[in-house]
């Protein structure tokens, strides 16, 4: 806020030192150092958020690809969703690290940074449109087709990967023609709604689909397909939690409070909602998923028994190998016959090792 003081005699205020008429601009940059510090904090928070998101999403993808027992169409949609989040986070980190701290690059304004921004907007669209695909899939599964499993996923791929090109391209054209600032970095323009508008529409449609699903599950299927409706209620619950969380940032974005402290709190909350989304999605869809947890537990107990068994067998083979050297001719089939124990496959491995040891002893 700049001010200039006019006194009663009709003269402008003069600064005592230079004795020239002087306007007061000091309030314009009074909080600069604090604002700068907060900007740095938010910047590092964003980078950490996206890095955590990429890590957790890659772990989730690894889990989904490793456990073939989990595969179904819904998991396929999850894999695509996670992949789009990974790409989005990668583009955001690239933008934050390469373009934002580099005013020289922004001033030069090469085409590559505009291309980067175009892909950034495209990936943002992909994120939200894959969430919409999940909602449409659940809706078709539960409300329309009533638990028939196999749908053709081509249209979902088209909506999730292909369609976001449309708003991103329109935004690029409009930006190049009407608001061609350096690197398209400015967020002060309403042209951003070209991308954010469809995203909000997708979130709204998604939300209504999910409400409809809940309505159907609660009213119609409670009596007839109780077990299945319970299972699908659990599936819907995850999506129903996520959609409002992802959408709320778009609802409150225009209303930044004027007050300085409230504005800071608003900035922190917005940054957490925007940049930690990948982590949230991975947690809710993968780590908190009952089936995934069950599969992980089974794998863990399997490893534990294999390890324990292997250790015990290792100790016991040591003692038997010393006695085996004294025996010259023992038919192989006897060992195979004895070790035909199907419970613990680790045992069979160690018996064949014993056979190999035996034959090694005799041949030597």
């Amino acid at each position: 806020r700049a001010s200039k003081y006019c006194d009663e005699t009709g003269n402008w205020f003069r600064h005592p030192e230079s004795n020239r008429t002087w306007s007061n601009y000091t309030l314009c940059n009074s909080f600069t150092s604090e604002k700068l510090k907060m900007a740095f904090i938010l910047y590092y928070m964003a980078i950490v958020g996206h890095a955590l998101s990429i890590t957790s999403l890659l772990i989730s993808l690894a889990i989904f690809f490793y456990f073939k027992s989990l595969s179904c169409q819904r998991i396929t949609l999850h894999k695509n969703l996670f992949f789009s989040y990974v790409l989005n986070s990668m583009f955001t980190i690239a933008h934050l690290i390469i373009v934002v701290p580099n005013p020289g690059l922004v001033k030069r304004d090469p085409v590559s940074c505009k291309v980067l921004q175009f892909f950034h907007q495209y990936m943002l669209g992909c994120n939200y449109f894959w969430m919409l695909c999940e909602g449409i899939y659940l809706h078709t599964l539960i409300v329309v087709a009533v638990f028939a499993e196999e749908q053709r996923l081509h249209w979902y791929y088209l909506l999730g990967w292909g369609f976001p090109l449309v708003p991103a391209s329109i935004h690029a054209v409009a930006r190049a023609k009407y608001f061609n600032d350096n690197c398209w970095m400015s967020v002060d323009t309403h042209l951003l709604y070209i991308v954010h508008g469809p995203v909000m529409a997708a979130l709204l449609v998604n939300f209504f689909f999910l409400l409809n699903i809940v309505r159907v599950l609660v009213t119609k299927l409670r009596d007839t397909h109780r077990a299945e409706s319970n299972m699908y209620m659990k599936a819907v619950r995850a999506t129903l939690i996520l959609v409002p969380l992802l959408g709320i940032q778009f609802v409150i974005i225009p209303w930044r409070p004027e007050n300085r402290l409230a504005g800071e709190i608003y900035d922190y909350i917005m940054h957490i909602l925007m940049h930690y989304q990948g982590l949230l999605v991975a947690t809710i869809f993968c780590f908190f998923n009952g089936e995934v947890q069950g599969a992980l537990k089974r794998q863990w107990t399997q490893y534990k028994t294999q390890w324990g068994q292997r250790r015990r067998e290792h100790c016991s083979t040591r003692s038997t190998s010393y006695t085996a050297t004294s025996i010259t001719e023992v038919p192989v089939y006897l060992y195979h016959h004895d070790s035909n124990n199907e419970q613990l496959n680790g045992r069979y491995v160690d018996d064949s090792e014993l056979v190999a040891l035996k034959s090694g002893e005799t041949s030597a």
Binding site: V144, A145, R152, V166, H190, I194, A201, A202
Partner: protein, 150 residues
């Protein structure tokens, strides 16, 4: 008898200060001379400098700030030399003329970019939203049909 005019930038002659206000006004500042001097000594280098910058960048404050500041300081120096009050009416008119020649087409916020008018902006925003809704309806309809169930 007022003392205010004496607290000018630097008055070399304190004795003249004690004279009456109207006497100082009559003898100290030749307006015509002032006008001539600022046009010769200040406006000419400013013109050359602005032409060196190029007309396309006249509205860019980063580029013109230095030379504009020099012009201002030059008018102050000439005022000091001629013991004129600064700022004065002549300087105001002078700067209004400079602005109307060099900065006429600059928008109030400088070369800051503006959104296109609403007539262009609204279709740009509404069309993707409508296409999104249509596409969603299409996908819902197609996945319904591929089930084979009505």
């Amino acid at each position: 008898l007022t003392v205010t005019p004496c607290r000018l930038s630097s008055n070399p002659d304190p004795v003249a200060c004690l004279s009456a206000h109207h006497f100082i006004a009559a003898t100290a500042c030749h307006e015509a001379e002032y006008g001539r001097q600022i046009r010769e000594r200040c406006l000419r280098p400013f013109k050359l400098s602005m032409e060196g910058i190029g007309q396309r960048l006249w509205c860019d404050w980063d580029e013109t700030m230095g030379t504009y500041g020099e012009l201002t300081n030059c008018t102050v120096a000439v005022a000091e030399n001629l013991t004129c009050y600064w700022p004065n009416r002549l300087v105001d008119e002078f700067f209004v003329a400079v602005h109307s020649h060099y900065f006429r087409n600059c928008s109030p916020s400088g070369r800051a970019l503006r959104d296109p008018p609403n007539g262009i902006l609204c279709p740009f925003i509404l069309v993707p939203i409508l296409v999104t809704l249509l596409m969603t309806a299409l996908v819902v309809w197609r996945s319904k049909r591929s089930e084979g169930i009505v």
